[in-house]
């Protein structure tokens, strides 16, 4: 069977669901952040696959922008995590629940 658009989309969907699972499961902020990166990559894969099989380069330009914004987002997010760690000495979400009560 020839590999077509569906194959790539299935890989992308499974990868995205894995990322969601990781965000809900992990308790360390850094690991949650890595799961978010996995989700972003899954979306990128779907966009590139659509771009290839619809013969339209716009999707790849969008992926280029997503990668750039993701790099900025990682830098800001990790700086926030470092600032949080300085205040609370922990990156586990259970220890960062002061808004809960």
């Amino acid at each position: 069977m020839n590999v077509g658009l569906h194959h790539y989309l299935i890989v992308s969907a499974v990868l995205f669901s894995l990322g969601v699972f990781g965000v809900l499961l992990r308790r360390n902020l850094l690991n949650i952040y890595m799961s978010l990166e996995v989700m972003l990559n899954a979306a990128n894969l779907a966009l590139v696959a659509f771009s290839r099989f619809n013969r339209n380069l716009d999707g790849q330009v969008l992926v280029f922008f997503i990668i750039t914004v993701a790099a900025a987002e990682v830098a800001v997010g990790l700086a926030l995590i470092v600032a949080l760690f300085r205040m609370r000495r922990s990156t586990y979400v259970e220890d960062l629940a002061s808004m809960k009560h």
Partner: protein
């Protein structure tokens, strides 16, 4: 040949992606970061199969290069003790599994509605074509992204100051 390569890269991507989010052997963030590198590399392989050569190179340079190095720097700056005793709560495992499975089934059901693809002439995601599009049609978003990167840089420098005023 291409089909075999697709299955190899897809399997690598999914297995390494699983090991990023839920490694059954270790809870160490460094291991997750390393498997994230492998995920991104195999995804670059998928991009090459989709003839997006420029994006494959950018993926390796920006993600595997810059982003993962940033992650590893932060992991080492924070000097985390890996707390193996913290088990995943059963409720988190259950709810995460249910939500992920539901999301996956919705996406797969939506995929069934897709029209059949036409395998026409291949689209070259070459650097020249992408650059032409980027610098003609998408010039304004391109410039805005550069401002965004500058803003992010200033923000990160401000956030990493010891005393926030």
């Amino acid at each position: 040949m291409q089909d075999v390569l697709f299955y190899i890269f897809a399997a690598l991507t999914l297995v390494c992606g699983f090991l990023v989010v839920a490694n059954p052997f270790t809870r160490n963030p460094v291991t997750s970061a390393m498997f994230l590198v492998l995920t991104i590399m195999s995804m670059a392989g998928l991009f090459v199969l989709l003839e997006a050569f420029f994006l494959a190179a950018v993926q390796v340079l920006v993600y595997a290069g810059a982003v993962i190095v940033l992650f590893l720097f932060v992991i080492m700056v924070l000097d985390l003790q890996v707390e193996e005793r913290r088990k995943y709560p059963r409720s988190a495992m259950l709810s995460g599994g249910i939500v992920a499975a539901a999301l996956l089934s919705v996406m797969l059901a939506a995929m069934r509605e897709l029209p059949g693809t036409t395998d026409g002439p291949a689209l070259e995601g070459s650097t020249a074509a992408l650059g032409g599009l980027l610098f003609r049609h998408y010039l304004l978003p391109f410039e805005m992204v550069s401002v965004l990167l500058l803003t992010a840089m200033v923000g990160v420098i401000l956030l990493s100051k010891r005393k926030l005023k």
